[in-house]
């Protein structure tokens, strides 16, 4: 077997580890992998270009930016923070647990594209989590603020990944079904979606527990 194409993976790992610009790393890895896989340069560039074009749907989500930017201009983040300051019992952990549950439940009924990092985390969830953290901790040093923001984004990801597969008509369920059909196992999407539930519960418990731990850390005054 020809193991040379693995060199492309090595390039990616080394490039990311050295924090080289990922755009260059990815392009170099793509070209190297393609050449080692037996394509000529024109073929590599064409394959890369076609795949980029086929995945333009990924860029659609940026159309929300003008709205988010306009609302920030009129104080949306400040508003989100002041609402949280007004709630006595609000803490970062509780707030993010609530968002985790919301994200898992909406994703589980097929509404995975309705929230996200650009649509909800930057304008609402992160400023709210920061405001709650300030109530618990006092003024945040930069490191703590970074942690709270990173947890806000992480909570969105965990909620999405371990909610969406409960919805039977999502791409990954279709992919599992199609793959297994080729081996003669014809499963209904619902049967597969059902088996996503135990992992979803585990994800909620583990990440929720970590959010409560975050609360405890924030509760210790500096």
């Amino acid at each position: 077997m020809n193991y040379w194409p693995l060199l492309g993976i090595a390039l990616v790992v080394i490039g990311f580890a050295l924090k080289l610009n990922p755009m260059l790393v990815v392009t170099a890895a793509a070209i190297v992998t393609g050449l080692l896989g037996g394509m000529d340069l024109i073929e590599v560039v064409s394959t890369f270009g076609k795949a980029f074009n086929d995945n333009r749907i990924i860029a659609i989500v940026w159309i929300v930016l003008p709205v988010i930017g306009l609302l920030e201009r009129h104080g949306l983040q400040q508003r989100a923070a002041s609402v949280i300051r007004g709630l006595k019992s609000a803490t970062t952990g509780r707030l993010l647990i609530l968002y985790l549950a919301y994200r898992q439940l909406t994703a589980a009924i097929g509404l995975h594209s309705t929230a996200g990092h650009a649509q909800t985390v930057r304008p609402l969830v992160a400023p709210m989590a920061l405001a709650a953290a300030e109530k618990q901790h006092g003024t945040l040093d930069e490191e703590t603020a970074e942690t709270v923001k990173a947890y806000s984004a992480a909570t969105d990801n965990v909620g999405l990944f371990f909610g969406e597969d409960i919805f039977f008509a999502i791409g990954s369920i279709v992919l599992i079904q199609q793959t297994l059909v080729t081996y003669g196992y014809n499963l209904s999407p619902l049967e597969l979606a059902l088996w996503a539930i135990p992992s979803a519960i585990c994800a909620f418990l583990i990440h929720g527990a970590r959010l409560l731990l975050l609360d405890r850390r924030l509760g210790q005054k500096p």
Partner: protein, 317 residues
């Protein structure tokens, strides 16, 4: 019928405006770099189907070159200051949330109506793309509402959008690049190689170890590809079907569904899943571009172990 190319045109027009405003921004030291970068994105969205595969390839090389050699940078278009924003926030109160909620609520209600009422049967929208269409509709309604209510300057949405997209920078394009890299990996046979190697790593006769290698393999290969979708067919062909389902008689529904979720644990731990891990770091202006991944590892690892245990106990009950 409303098809995806309508949305590509909308997004393409927005990127074209970002490019134009960048070029006109004399205060910006890298204005032509930014203009070229967003201009190429506009070209891709507006004309990607017309310039051919090789043309698209050159376009991607252009994007990578502009970003990789530091020719693009953050901008500071006209916007409001912190004090002014605090003032707006107090004056407008919680009504300010209403336009923010228009986008998710339109996407939510639109998707529900389209899927669970006879409206969907009319076939107005390209199949499986209705949420994107309602997302775009929500954006347009929100813009109209803000203009009617707050009367910002006419260019404000584009300038504010440019402020945000320049803060995100190349990370906005990276997910698409990685998806394309995955296609090249597949074309070069990386999947078959990985599948072969993992198969050799399995000791014979132990169901538990086979399940463990399957789960770990899903997570690791997902980390390499940035996407569990690319890993699943490979791991299913190498281990899931021949060993777990056929060899040991495991329940295919459990092996398939939970195997995929073991892969999702890998997604939480890799910069290759840029849209989930690197883009939010840029969007939230984190100093550490791997900050989101760091916050996720301690959730992902125990969850991976639990997923492996779920397969072991549920598929072979």
């Amino acid at each position: 019928m409303i098809a995806m190319h309508w949305l590509y045109a909308l997004a393409g027009a927005m990127f074209a405006a970002f490019a134009l405003l960048s070029a006109l921004d004399t205060a910006h030291s890298k204005r032509f770099g930014n203009a070229a970068f967003w201009g190429l994105m506009a070209l891709s969205l507006l004309g990607g189907d017309a310039i051919g595969d090789f043309g698209n390839g050159l376009l991607v090389l252009g994007l990578a070159g502009l970003a990789g050699f530091g020719l693009i940078g953050r901008s500071s278009p006209p916007t409001t200051g912190a004090e002014e924003r605090e003032g707006w926030s107090q004056r407008l109160g919680n009504r300010l949330f209403l336009p923010a909620l228009i986008i998710p609520v339109t996407a939510l209600i639109g998707t529900l109506l389209y899927n669970y009422t006879p409206i969907g049967g009319l076939g107005w929208i390209e199949a499986k793309r209705e949420t994107y269409v309602f997302l775009a509709l929500g954006v347009l309604i929100a813009l109209a509402t803000i203009f009617a209510w707050l009367r910002p300057p006419a260019l404000a949405p584009l300038q504010e959008g440019r402020r945000l997209i320049d803060a995100i920078g190349w990370a906005a394009v990276l997910p698409q690049m990685l998806a394309a890299l995955g296609v090249l990996f597949a074309a070069a046979g990386v999947g078959d190689i990985i599948g072969g190697v993992t198969r050799q790593a399995i000791p014979e006769g132990s169901v538990f170890l086979t399940v463990a290698v399957f789960g770990l393999g899903m997570a690791l290969f997902t980390m390499i590809m940035g996407n569990a979708f690319a890993a699943f067919p490979v791991m299913a062909a190498a281990i899931g079907v021949p060993l777990l389902i056929v060899g040991y008689g495991g329940d295919p529904a459990v092996v398939g569904a939970v195997g995929m979720l073991a892969g999702f644990c890998g997604t939480l731990m890799t910069p290759m899943a840029a849209n989930f891990n690197l883009v939010p770091a840029a969007l939230l202006e984190l100093k550490d571009q791997y900050g989101v991944i760091r916050a996720q590892v301690a959730t992902a690892l125990p969850l991976l172990v639990l997923n492996i245990l779920i397969i072991y106990f549920a598929a072979f009950r």
